[in-house]
């Protein structure tokens, strides 16, 4: 290698190093300005887990890089019961479709927000959480006051495998919530027609599936079509101020707007402790087919989910 090449390479190398450092410094500055401190960081088998805290809230974040990470779960320090994120409130509003679940399966633990909320509302209900990453469980326990009890149990393993085994054991769940994220999107094998069929086997006649997903991606059409193929009519819950989207699917026919409004009025006071007014939600629930029905549904054979998301 001649001298010129060497010096050119050195130049580029130092540019890259400088760029990386500058990036880090800018980011740390931005965080510091908002008063966000990192109080815990670990690299688990599946992802980087970061717990951050500012003056008002503590958050769990899965990151691939520092920049792309999204908060998976947050709680207010003063009032831990109040829900921080729209998606959690949107999930909870599915109680207007089907209430009083006695057995609940939640796929994806996060900070343990949803299990706690459902336990508060239905103290007698048995809640099982399927979580792939043991480190997420210990972070939830250490930083978000999550605790396993005789009513709240965590199964460490893949959600798909849990559902398949539960179906073999002829178990049933009145409510199944898919709340699984890998930091980027929902894992591909948890989005397919076959998986939804397996979940359907777990639902009794009046059982319900609630899926926490997004409204802003190329996947919108494919995902909607997949749910529609398995469940027929679905309720789509999208709101103006958030990219979150909740799909509510049930084996029964879905209630009309009047029924939803009436139930919301009844539920209103019980859900106030979570800092939500549930009467706001029915008007955003729709069974209208607002997606391209020609889109190829996702199956175990065809599920390039994360590629479509880009």
């Amino acid at each position: 290698m001649n001298f010129k090449m060497k010096s050119t390479m050195r130049y580029w190398f130092s540019c890259v190093v400088l760029f990386l450092f500058a990036d880090l410094i800018i980011l740390q500055d931005a965080q510091a300005q908002r008063g966000i401190r990192e109080i815990h960081q670990e690299r688990s088998l599946y992802r980087n887990i970061i717990v951050t805290e500012d003056s008002s809230r503590r958050c769990l974040r899965f990151t691939i890089t520092r920049r792309t990470g999204q908060n998976q779960s947050c709680r207010f320090l003063e009032n831990p019961q109040a829900l921080v994120f729209p998606y959690a409130k949107m999930t909870l509003s599915s109680l207007l479709v089907q209430d009083d679940p006695q057995r609940i399966l939640i796929i994806g633990l996060g900070g343990g927000t949803l299990p706690e909320v459902y336990h508060t509302l239905f103290p007698e209900a048995e809640i099982i959480i399927s979580e792939i990453d043991e480190a997420v469980l210990s972070v939830a326990e250490d930083f978000f006051d999550f605790a396993q009890t005789d009513k709240i149990k965590v199964d460490i393993g893949d959600g798909r495998v849990y559902v398949k085994r539960a179906a073999l054991r002829n178990e049933s769940f009145d409510l199944v919530i898919i709340d699984a994220f890998n930091g980027e999107y929902i894992p591909e094998h948890l989005m397919t027609e076959e998986f939804l069929q397996e979940i359907k086997q777990l639902l009794p006649e009046d059982g319900m599936l609630v899926s926490n997903t997004f409204s802003t991606s190329r996947l919108y059409d494919a995902e909607s079509q997949t749910y529609q193929n398995v469940f027929g009519e679905i309720i789509n819950l999208r709101m103006n101020n958030t990219g979150n989207r909740i799909i509510i699917a049930s084996r029964q026919s879905l209630p009309d707007l009047n029924t939803l409004n009436r139930r919301a009025a009844n539920w209103r006071s019980r859900l106030e402790i979570f800092d939500m007014d549930v009467t706001d939600y029915p008007r955003f629930m729709s069974t209208e087919v607002d997606w391209n029905t020609e889109e190829r549904p996702l199956t175990d054979q065809y599920s390039p989910a994360n590629l479509l998301n880009n």
Binding site: L45, Y46, I132, G157, D158, G159, R160, V161, K164, R165, L168, P187, E188, H189, T192, E194, F195, T299, D300, Q301, Y302, S303, P304, L307, L308
Partner: protein, 213 residues
């Protein structure tokens, strides 16, 4: 004439090595997708798949090397490709039934995924592994050049592997179903085998010509 035929054959052998490298990694990558519905996408599922591919390739190298000792021919070389194509059939046709059966028998997804990977991928991959050392034997004319020949061959086949990984994960899964990709791989292997067997005659003819000169 004989020399140009020889270089044609060498080119063919290198192309086939590229194809086998491409297909090995494409299948390995699809393995994760195939197993996920039954065993999830936990880290040990990839662990199982990679273990099985490494085991089967190592055994394939050993057997391929042994077989190259006696009467090396493009005919046998081509039959490896055809055999590998046939060994993909159980994976395509009965993959789900096999996984279903083992899912019922083995509770632990670690050993479940390991044994299923063995059943589905071991044989086709081992046969694909036989191709590389056998190709070296077909290409080597004198021992002084054996390292150079082996280096070129591994360069070509590993390039194939790299492209196979890239093409499958970036594009093929976006355009096709898993089984459509596997069937295409099987057909390509079959046709490659046919091509090698068909070229066997010219291979022998020009070998003879070279020997005389």
């Amino acid at each position: 004439m004989a020399e140009s035929l020889a270089s044609m054959n060498n080119l063919l052998i290198l192309c086939l090595a590229f194809v086998s490298g491409f297909i090995i990694m494409s299948i390995e990558l699809l393995g994760g997708r195939i197993l996920a519905p039954y065993f999830g996408s936990s880290i040990f599922v990839w662990g199982s798949i990679i273990t099985v591919f490494m085991l089967s390739l190592s055994l394939g190298y050993l057997i391929g090397g042994k077989l190259s000792l006696r009467n090396p021919s493009l005919k046998l070389h081509g039959s490896f490709f055809m055999l590998a194509a046939f060994l993909l059939i159980p994976l395509i046709l009965f993959g789900n039934q096999i996984m279903e059966a083992l899912f019922l028998v083995i509770e632990d997804p670690r050993y479940g995924s390991l044994i299923v990977s063995m059943l589905l991928f071991f044989l086709p991959t081992a046969v694909l592994g036989m191709i590389a050392p056998y190709s070296v034997r077909l290409l080597v004319i004198d021992s002084n050049h054996s390292g150079h020949v082996a280096g070129t061959l591994y360069f070509v086949s590993t390039m194939g592997s790299a492209l196979g990984t890239l093409a499958t994960s970036f594009y093929l899964v976006l355009w096709f179903e898993v089984n459509q990709i596997l069937i295409t791989m099987g057909l390509i292997l079959f046709l490659s085998g046919m091509l090698a067997i068909f070229s066997n005659k010219t291979f022998h003819a020009n070998k003879a010509a070279l020997d005389i000169s």
